[in-house]
């Protein structure tokens, strides 16, 4: 009897341990699900943006020069803003007073004058005819249409007054404002106005940075790994190098940012906020990770292959480059991809070297000021306008999907080409 009880107890303990394990895995999975779903729910609406159709006639004689092209000087002096505002107000003939007009104007984006100008510069034949142009509504209108605007707080604390809300409701019922695909998000760089901001600048900045990172880290890491696996004799130096690599892989990323700030910016006098420096800092951070992965995959190649090559008269270098490295290549590539994916999501070191600036141009070279996608996410999440939050979420969705895809490619590569010895 006593024995049975004890056995039961022992089995209960077994079940309990299993239960703890399953519960913690479930919690971890639930957290992942909560994280991804809350970001998706926040962000998917940013795929759309409120647009307002306006009928605009622009007289060509005022802007075109004798060659039939838009004269830059004239375009600069032309009052596009008032043109747009007037066209917008024709929908509201009853609005007369100055303050009402001002309130009404706030419903359209303050960048719409510029957008219309760009449209006419591109479409010279659009002059003198009545054209329907879809201009962006202001971010508050956009948020209201998406049901993200809290109308329960008192009117003074709101960014939209009751009058404005009535106008928006009327516009919506008359089809004067519509949610359409948010083109700006994919074709423009950052902006003060959420409705005209996009991720293109940050994506290009990230791509330039990553290019520098790969260019520097891959060769250095592969060379170092080959040295450590093939040529290094066990010595104090080798040991010290190894300790250094393992430790560097665990140094907080922000420390690399500090290194970049004081070495590259202050000592070498390289410019601030540029992809070149960002790439160099991230390369320093990635090299240890790639070295560790590369060494592991080189070590996984059986020594018999090297020995056979050496036995047939190959030099050490030939044995390494003709036989071992090609066999270890899938592993090396996987390690590199994972290291690069890590660097792509990194933002703390970039904050240190000033890649956190507000930049409205898409960067054009390795030495033009730029920002990176994770930093852009950080800046938008930090700003006051609610419309920036959803853009931040959408940017996160793209970043995460891209990173998951990159990691999947790495896993598939490994599965496909990895040889079991």
């Amino acid at each position: 009897m006593n024995k049975d009880k004890r056995l039961k107890k022992r089995h209960a303990r077994e079940k309990r341990l299993k239960f703890y394990g399953i519960t913690s895995i479930c919690i971890a999975l639930m957290m992942l699900f909560t994280l991804l779903s809350s970001i998706t729910l926040n962000g998917y609406t940013a795929m759309q943006q409120a647009y307002i159709p306006l009928k605009i006639i622009v007289p060509g004689e005022k802007l075109l020069n004798s060659d039939g092209e838009v004269d830059a000087q004239k375009a600069l002096l032309f009052n596009w803003d008032s043109k747009v505002k007037k066209a917008f107000r024709t929908n509201f003939p009853e609005v007369k007073s100055r303050s009402d007009k001002k309130e009404l104007n706030r419903l359209i984006s303050s960048n719409s004058g510029y957008d219309v100008k760009q449209f006419f510069i591109k479409n010279v034949d659009a002059f003198d005819n009545e054209r329907v142009i879809w201009i962006t509504a202001s971010d508050d209108v956009d948020q209201y249409l998406k049901g993200r605007f809290n109308t329960n707080i008192s009117e003074e604390d709101r960014r939209l007054t009751n009058k404005q809300l009535n106008w928006i409701d009327r516009m919506r019922s008359e089809g004067l404002v519509k949610l359409k695909f948010n083109k700006n998000f994919f074709t423009s760089a950052d902006s003060r106005e959420p409705e005209s901001s996009g991720i293109l600048g940050a994506v290009v900045g990230s791509a330039l940075t990553m290019f520098v990172t790969v260019l520097l880290s891959l060769p250095l890491a592969v060379m170092a790994s080959i040295y450590l696996e093939y040529f290094a004799k066990p010595s104090r130096l080798t040991d010290f190098i190894e300790v250094n690599i393992n430790n560097l892989a665990a140094v907080p990323s922000i420390v690399f940012g500090l290194l970049g700030l004081s070495l590259f910016l202050s000592f070498f006098g390289l410019p601030r906020s540029v992809p070149l420096v960002g790439g160099m800092v991230l390369a320093l951070m990635t090299i240890p990770t790639v070295i560790i992965a590369t060494r592991a995959s080189i070590r996984a190649v059986p020594p018999s292959i090297k020995d056979a090559a050496l036995g047939l008269g190959a030099s050490k270098m030939q044995a390494a480059f003709h036989h071992v490295v090609p066999l270890a290549m899938p592993g090396i590539l996987t390690g590199t991809i994972i290291g690069i994916a890590q660097a792509l999501g990194e933002s703390a070191p970039l904050l240190m070297i000033g890649m956190v600036a507000f930049i409205i141009d898409v960067p054009s070279s390795f030495t033009s000021p730029a920002t990176a996608l994770p930093v852009q996410i950080f800046m938008w999440a930090d700003s006051a306008e609610r419309a920036f939050y959803e853009r931040s979420s959408l940017a996160i969705m793209f970043l995460v999907v891209f990173l998951i895809m990159v990691n999947l490619v790495a896993v598939i590569l490994r599965r496909k080409f990895e040889k079991k010895w």
Binding site: R10, R13, E14, R16, L17, K18, G21, I22, S24, I25, I27, A28, L29, M31, L32, T34, L35, S38, I39, A221, A224, I226, Y227, F240, I241, N244, N246, N247, L248, A250, V251, I254, V255, L258, L259, L261, S262, L263, S266, F267, G269, I287, P288, I291, S315, G345, S347, A348, L351, M352, I377, F378, A381, Y389, S392, I396, L399, V400, L403, N407
Partner: protein, 458 residues
């Protein structure tokens, strides 16, 4: 820009000379009717080492050096033109001149414009000099090399020796990085300690890095006692470990010991997704989802929770660390030899007893190592706390209040335009040095412990 163009032209020229060298070797073999010691391509590779490599190094040096040389020359030139200028004024003038040259601004001062003109012409001259010297060096070396090819020399050996040396340099790069980190942090930190007492920094109980707007302002100096910041870091890291350690460890035990292979193959990659998510995403989640959640929860229970509470940042950081702990512990547990388990089963122990009494004690050093690495990660984590924790340094261990961490302070002190001789900026390097030392100790400890384990069962 010239750098890229020059690099490409060097590459183009070198590829031509590579082929020329190859043909020359083949021709020589044909004429002299003697076999060469190495393959023709080895002579060509040797050529690259003797022509492209020095030219490229020269190009790099000139690209780094010329701007500094120009700066030096022209600050002297400005100092000559305006003998009464102070150093700061000279630098201001110099950057003005550079901006004019870049076309960013224009000036109506004649003296500045003259210097700008000179600057533009001499920087152009330098560019021309740079291009000519690198390309000439490359050509000269190639020609000399091709003229003096000696087929009885073993070209392959010298190529391989060069490569081996280059590989060694690449490996030493890891040491150089560490040294660079230590030196750069220390230099700035020592400058900080020359302005601010070292012991006041280490043991000070008050952190308020304000800069004086007026001379007579109270606390104009700002005070830099790092204890409150350190305490905040410890609070956040502790919360994170409270979340991550049990969940990560139990998941690892289940995955390593109980889970069937298909389950393992599905769950492991999913957990790895959690590890691959950028920290800024966790920061966003902590600031915009977790923090309001804890605040509302607290309001529901009648407790006041700060909207930038330590618990929100800490628990999200814990979620981030779960996969880190689980995958490290999984590896450690699986590295315990099967014979230990079999022995335990043979004595009649259940699986749970085997795990808790045999496997885990055997894996303990590795688990401790994993734990220490995770702590080091939590301490160094930046984005989550920057986005979700606060800036004000309070001396508190209450997880419901706002705390600040070392990394948050570094970021807030160094983002934006920073002057390098400012005590505020320098204090960030003091914090950075403390952070680096702390994590270095943890890492070295963790790595030594794990190494012991690996040696025990190898």
């Amino acid at each position: 820009m010239t750098f890229l163009i020059l690099t490409f032209s060097l590459i183009a020229f070198s590829s031509v000379s590579y082929l020329v060298c190859r043909n020359r070797v083949l021709y020589k073999i044909k004429v002299t009717k003697t076999a060469s010691k190495s393959l023709p391509k080895h002579y060509s590779q040797n050529l690259l080492i003797w022509s492209f490599v020095p030219a490229f190094i020269l190009l790099l040096l000139l690209t780094i050096g010329t701007p500094r040389l120009l700066d030096g020359l022209y600050s002297e030139r400005i100092a000559e033109a305006h003998p009464h200028f102070s150093l700061a004024e000279i630098q201001l003038n110099l950057s003005k001149v550079k901006n004019i040259v870049a076309g960013a601004v224009s000036s109506d001062e004649d003296s500045v414009n003259i210097i700008a003109g000179e600057f533009a012409s001499s920087s152009q001259n330098f560019e021309i000099l740079k291009s000519l010297s690198t390309i000439l060096l490359c050509m000269l070396c190639s020609i000399i090399f091709i003229k003096n090819i000696d087929l009885s020399k073993n070209a392959r050996e010298s190529v391989e020796n060069f490569l081996q040396g280059a590989f060694l340099v690449a490996a030493i790069f890891a040491i150089l990085t560490t040294v660079a980190i230590i030196v750069s942090l220390s230099v700035e930190a020592i400058r900080f300690f020359s302005l601010y007492n070292f012991f006041d920094f280490i043991f000070g109980l008050h952190w308020a890095p304000n800069i004086a707007i007026r001379e007579d302002q109270v606390a104009a100096q700002g005070s830099f006692g790092m204890i409150p910041v350190l305490l905040g870091t410890i609070v956040v890291a502790t919360i994170a470990m409270f979340v991550a350690l049990p969940i990560g460890l139990f998941s690892a035990i289940y995955l390593a010991e109980f889970a069937s292979k298909p389950v393992r193959d599905i769950i492991k990659p999913i957990l790895e997704i959690l590890a691959g998510i950028p920290t800024v995403v966790y920061g966003y989640f902590a600031a915009l989802t977790a923090a309001p959640f804890f605040r509302d929860l607290g309001a529901g229970l009648g407790i006041s929770v700060s909207s930038e509470s330590a618990i929100a940042a800490g628990s999200v950081m814990g979620i981030m660390i779960i996969p880190f702990i689980s995958s490290l512990s999984d590896d450690v547990i699986r590295s315990v030899p099967q014979s230990l388990r079999d022995g335990s089963y043979g004595l009649g122990a259940t699986q749970a007893e085997t795990i808790t009494k045999v496997v885990l004690p055997a894996a303990l050093p590795g688990l401790v190592g994993a734990f220490l690495l995770a702590v080091s990660r939590a301490i160094g984590e930046t984005m989550i706390v920057v986005m979700a924790a606060g800036l004000s340094a309070k001396l508190t261990v209450n997880p419901l209040e706002t705390v600040t961490t070392v990394t948050v302070q570094i970021v807030s002190l160094l983002t934006g335009d920073t002057e390098f001789d400012d005590i505020k900026t320098l204090s960030a390097f003091g914090l950075g040095l403390a952070l680096f030392t702390f994590t270095l100790l943890l890492n070295v400890l963790a790595l030594t412990i794990s190494r012991r384990l690996a040696e025990r069962y190898d």
